[in-house]
């Protein structure tokens, strides 16, 4: 075990050093190589999309600069030149986490693995780019440097087209993906919401709505989307368990923990957006929803299911110039749970629960190099001792309440446009239903406050 940990730390340090030597910004991901665009044309700061980035995604990732004289290379990581035939890209995340108190009553070091040491928390490879005039997408494969396992990550395969006349401009298409809200073009919904990276070893609140990536890499869905006159965005589709012929969409995922749905889970999304001031400013208000029937035991997909009805409302504002960039996002998800399966099996105290999530964040970047973000996250819902009072130190809840509140302050420094260093501090005002002694063993919410340092290197 100790050898594995040392190997992981060594690998993390090695990768950190390797990527730090690549300081000439020649290494940029495959979408940038395909289009010739700078990262910051499509991203306010990656991963947050600008107007240009949203346009690129709506177009099915097909926009490409013309091929000039000479052949396209098979694989290339060069910034200039013809786009490579195989759009290979990747990133490494090396991080260090420190949780405020790792010695509360009932807790021991085993509950806080890999703290205060450099770890390779994620290494991802992408095939990401245009396939043909109307088809494009990305497939992400991720290695978990702590569990030493690898599995499929986000997949988004698109067919896209556009109708344009004097009065009507409709961009439309299909997205085949494995994570509800991944197809979305804004940064309010869970998959692309703040924070874009966080500690994988620090304690986090137990409760989350199903839409908060509760089905990530466990389902496959087809959605049809359209953007009308750059004003109305509409998307509708459905998700099913990624089993049988679709198992590639959850390849490598631990099936003991993968969700199994009963039938199709419908998903929808509507948004009204406006862009003005020569594209410098944009705003959006919208709503989205998902209804899913999930079997409580993924290994015994029979009998009554739990029904989750999630409804979200959201809004976003962006101000984008080369010198100053500002954005704000807010999203509220209200989840109605009808726990027919879990309640019948004795897993919950209530047959029905409500769980709500509020996420908000503000970001400012100066010269696309120096950024500060402030995030607020609140999860609250019905008290249910059967669901949340596990009696466990750190992760338990003495009150049986799912309520948690966190403030996240994040500083970002991008010395080059494809090298990010992040200092993030998460402060909990409430954790699993309490401010003090929330687990019934003497642990306070603030004991879970976490300092997180991250070096994030795409290539």
């Amino acid at each position: 075990m100790e050898k594995t940990s040392k190997w992981s730390a060594l690998l993390a340090v090695g990768l950190l050093g390797f990527f730090l030597t690549l300081t000439d910004a020649q290494a940029v991901p495959s979408f940038a190589r395909q289009t010739g665009l700078e990262c910051v044309a499509c991203h306010l700061s990656w991963l947050e999309l600008t107007t240009v980035g949203r346009q690129f995604k709506l177009g099915g990732y097909t926009l490409m600069k013309p091929v000039t004289s000479g052949e396209r290379p098979l694989v290339s990581f060069a910034k200039d030149g013809n786009p490579p035939l195989i759009p290979l890209a990747g990133f490494a995340q090396v991080s260090l986490s420190h949780t405020n108190n790792m010695n509360s009553p009932g807790a021991d070091a085993s509950l806080f693995p890999n703290q205060d040491e450099l770890v390779l928390q994620q290494f991802s490879l992408f095939l990401a780019g245009r396939v043909s005039d109307h088809a494009g997408g990305f497939v992400q494969w991720t290695y978990d440097g702590l569990a030493h396992t690898s599995a499929i990550d986000n997949v988004d395969l698109r067919l896209a087209n556009r109708y344009k006349s004097d009065n009507l401009d409709v961009m439309y298409g299909l997205s085949l993906n494995n994570n509800p809200t991944m197809s979305d073009i804004y940064n309010t919904t869970p998959v692309w919401g703040f924070p874009f990276a966080s500690s994988v070893v620090a304690p986090t609140p137990e409760a989350a709505t199903l839409l908060q990536e509760g089905l990530a890499q466990q389902v496959v869905g087809l959605t049809a989307y359209s953007m009308w006159n750059r004003t109305l965005y509409a998307e509708i589709g459905g998700y099913r368990t990624a089993s049988e012929g679709f198992s590639a969409f959850r390849a490598g995922v631990d099936l003991n923990e993968a969700a199994v749905l009963d039938g199709i889970a419908p998903y929808w999304r509507l948004a009204l957006q406006h862009e003005w001031d020569g594209g410098t400013q944009s705003a959006m208000v919208g709503a989205f929803g998902l209804t899913a029937n999930r079997f409580p035991d993924p290994l015994a997909a029979v009998g009554p299911t739990d029904k989750f009805s999630d409804l979200g409302i959201d809004a976003q504002y962006q101000y984008v110039t080369d010198t100053h960039r500002f954005s704000g996002q807010i999203a509220y998800i209200r989840e109605q749970q009808e726990l027919n399966g879990t309640f019948a099996a004795g897993g919950s105290s209530n047959p029905n629960n409500q769980l709500n999530n509020l996420s908000a964040k503000l970001t400012y970047y100066y010269q696309t190099k120096y950024g500060v973000s402030l995030g607020y996250q609140r999860i609250e819902g019905d008290t249910d001792a059967g669901l949340y009072s596990t009696g466990q130190p750190v992760s338990g809840s003495a009150s049986g309440s799912p309520n948690s509140t966190a403030l996240i302050l994040e500083l970002n420094w991008l010395p080059w446009r494809d090298r990010r260093f992040t200092l993030q501090y998460t402060a909990y005002q409430e954790f699993n239903g309490g401010k003090s002694n929330y687990d019934g063993l003497g642990r306070n919410a603030s004991d879970n406050n976490t300092l997180f340092l991250l070096a994030w290197f795409p290539f």
Binding site: T51, V52, H134, T321, T323
Partner: protein, 82 residues
């Protein structure tokens, strides 16, 4: 009944799919207004210093991503310095 419903769904799907792929081309370049192209520089940035711009003998130029001629002193949201 179920088979007939499936056949119908398949037909509708195929029709929709063929409509999606026929005709109006997404391929190629975007319209200038897609990236809010303007004929004036912005914040001292202009097409002439963008890596997507190529000058033409006419004194104007072309953009790798936008349709038609662009001015060397123009600008758009996709500006990417050389």
């Amino acid at each position: 009944m179920e088979n007939s419903a499936r056949t119908m769904t398949r037909r509708v799907g195929l029709l929709w799919g063929s409509q999606l792929l026929v005709g109006m081309a997404m391929a190629g370049k975007l319209d200038k207004q897609d990236f809010f192209y303007q004929t004036q520089p912005k914040d001292n940035k202009s097409c002439s210093t963008c890596r997507l711009y190529t000058a033409t003998p006419s004194g104007k130029g072309v953009c790798a991503l936008l349709d038609g001629e662009v001015s060397p002193s123009g600008w758009c949201m996709a500006y990417s310095p050389r």
